[in-house]
């Protein structure tokens, strides 16, 4: 007698919704175990990690503030992932977006024109698009794997940013620290909830989530991308242009990441620094999966992921745990999700050894 995984005739829609929930619950349980193992009171640790950060309006604003770039990037990535185009370099595209937007801010430093912010958004998008165009070109022209190319470019992007803030764009009055001049007010997002750091960029993210829904689920182009991801021979048969899917898949993610990068430097950071992101580009990959590549799921998943970030910071201060806990939880969440996903297409069955006809006849008698 043993357990067996049996293929379902049709995928379970219920499990499609429940699976991310299972994954979240399993992550929390794993967290409990982890906290106990580290000698911390699990209930107190749970409170510190998951409840304390959002206990007041300011905390809630912080939750949305971090969720904003996550949902933005994840929606862009999801478009590509649906088409089997694996943009893993969103972190680098984010950095390029920050650089381009920062470049605009520094160029017009001191000006008070209301055109600067929209220009920065466009510049950020362009930066991300250009950086994502490289793997797109190399994949369509030379068949080079976009996972590896986009990932290598993350390292290059970070080095580029490092050089810029150490050398040409370093603030001459910055005491030799590697940082650019701080942006003036015209180059910063106005706040959304006064007294908090939540800014107008959040509205842009929400708009992109909505647009992503229309694109993926209602547009013909989105349909083509889904076909390309599910059965590329069928996409060819239908006459859908495979190269166009690859370009779109990468550029949409790049644009989203670029705008998110702009949002970081025009928002909470307010200048260019050697690091402009605590790994949002990678966390967004997890958000995309946990959100089942669906814009509304992504919205919820981005809130969860944001909470993990805040929790990590709170744990560092309140529990003396390293902030690396965040990365740990993020990885665990994705693992649990991939594991629970199996129940969408398979069910567990108990298998008995086959009976001989004689035994069957006996049993029937």
């Amino acid at each position: 007698m043993r357990l067996k995984l049996e293929s379902r005739a049709e995928p379970s829609r219920l499990m499609g919704y429940l699976s991310p929930l299972f994954a979240a619950v399993l992550t929390v349980i794993a967290g409990f175990i982890l906290f106990s193992a580290l000698g911390k009171n699990p209930l107190q640790a749970f409170y510190t990690f998951f409840i304390y950060p959002v206990r007041d309006l300011n905390g809630f604003a912080e939750l949305l503030l971090k969720a904003s770039p996550l949902m933005l990037i994840a929606v862009g990535l999801a478009c590509g992932y649906r088409a089997n185009v694996w943009n893993i370099g969103a972190e680098g595209q984010l950095v390029l977006g920050a650089i381009f937007a920062g470049g605009v801010a520094l160029y017009f430093h001191g000006s008070e024109s209301s055109l600067i912010l929209p220009l920065m958004v466009v510049a950020g998008a362009i930066g991300g698009i250009l950086w994502a165009a490289i793997p797109a070109l190399l994949r369509t022209r030379f068949n080079a794997n976009e996972i590896l190319v986009s990932l290598m470019l993350v390292y290059v992007a970070n080095f580029l940013l490092s050089w810029l803030v150490h050398e040409p764009w370093r603030d001459p009055e910055g005491f030799n620290f590697p940082q650019s001049k701080q942006f003036t007010e015209a180059a910063l997002y106005p706040p959304l909830i006064p007294g908090t750091r939540l800014n107008v960029g959040f509205l842009i993210s929400l708009a992109v989530v909505g647009a992503g829904y229309v694109f993926l689920n209602r547009s013909f182009l989105g349909f083509q991308m889904r076909v390309a991801g599910l059965a590329d021979a069928a996409a060819r048969y239908a006459g859908f242009n495979a190269n166009r899917m690859i370009w779109l898949g990468l550029l949409l993610g790049g644009a989203a990441a670029g705008i998110a990068g702009m949002g970081e430097v025009a928002g909470p950071i307010g200048q260019l620094l050697p690091s402009v992101s605590p790994g949002y580009g990678f966390a967004a990959i997890i958000v995309a999966f946990v959100g089942r590549l669906h814009p509304f799921g992504i919205l919820l998943a981005s809130l969860l992921m944001s909470l993990l970030y805040l929790g990590g910071e709170a744990a560092q201060m309140g529990l003396q745990l390293p902030s690396a806990m965040t990365g740990l939880f993020q990885g665990m969440l994705l693992f649990f999700l991939l594991g629970s996903d199996v129940f969408i297409n398979y069910r567990v069955k108990v298998v008995h050894p086959p009976k001989a006809p004689a035994q069957l006849a006996e049993a029937a008698a």
Partner: protein
Amino acid sequence: MTDHLIPILVAAVAAGTPMVFAALGELVTEKSGVLNLGVEGMMLMGAVTGFAVASQTGNPWLGAVAGMAAGAAMALIFAVLTLNLMANQVASGLALTLFGIGLSAFLGKPYESVSLVVAPPPAIPLLSQIPVVGPLLFSYHLLVYVSWALFAAIAWFLYKSRAGLVLRSIGESPESAHAIGYPVIRIRYLATLFGGAMAGLGGAYLSEFYAPLWVEGMTAGRGWIALALVVFATWRPARVMIGAYLFGGVTIAQFFAQGAGVSIPSQFLSSLPYLATIIVLVFISRNLATIRLNAPVSLAKSYRPD
């Protein structure tokens, strides 16, 4: 310049060794049809575990073994997800990397400013005194020689042994191999665990013997470069070695350039290995026929025996 050449080559070999381990391990895994993108995560886990054990016990070889075990343990998670639970191999590999980065950062916190006492590479008497050839072949740390033995063993295994033939056949067509009666899943498990152990060993070498220190994220993308190396080598062990040492060379080029007073910004030099990886990938991938002839046909595709 020429009397710098030998030290450069020697340094390149030492610098390329972590990638030799990781890439050879991943080669075996991929030959069975499994694409494990989690190499970076496994290397980091090997690095932190090796360093921690070596630091606690004072025995670096125990650390190396612990590093291998850590890499294999990570690979085990990946294997369960993809081979038993039929999860998507690309997503699972990414999850493994992210998890490995996070877990290693977490576990390594107490070791960040710890230093490890490491014995200098044993200079083989007489042999290493031979001009030119001596230092080039005989002045390395023991693990480098282990990596050479590993290369020979893997080459023999894949192309001269029956077990290697079976492995290659599984990579090409798991359905046919299963129809003939080979335990496809079990063999893929073994290949995946082996790949993990090798990645772990590569990481342990990096943190215990090459650096030697522990810093969060210290592999700095070497795991990804190892993946690119397997493609660049068109899945053949000898080319993996060449590629790994070339990359070792590019990695250390920045130090020699700085020492020689070349006035290129250090960030540009640091990005050379990554740019080189891209160029190399483009170069090898553009010939579709070559890829199709050498890549294991079932690579990254989920397989489930009835």
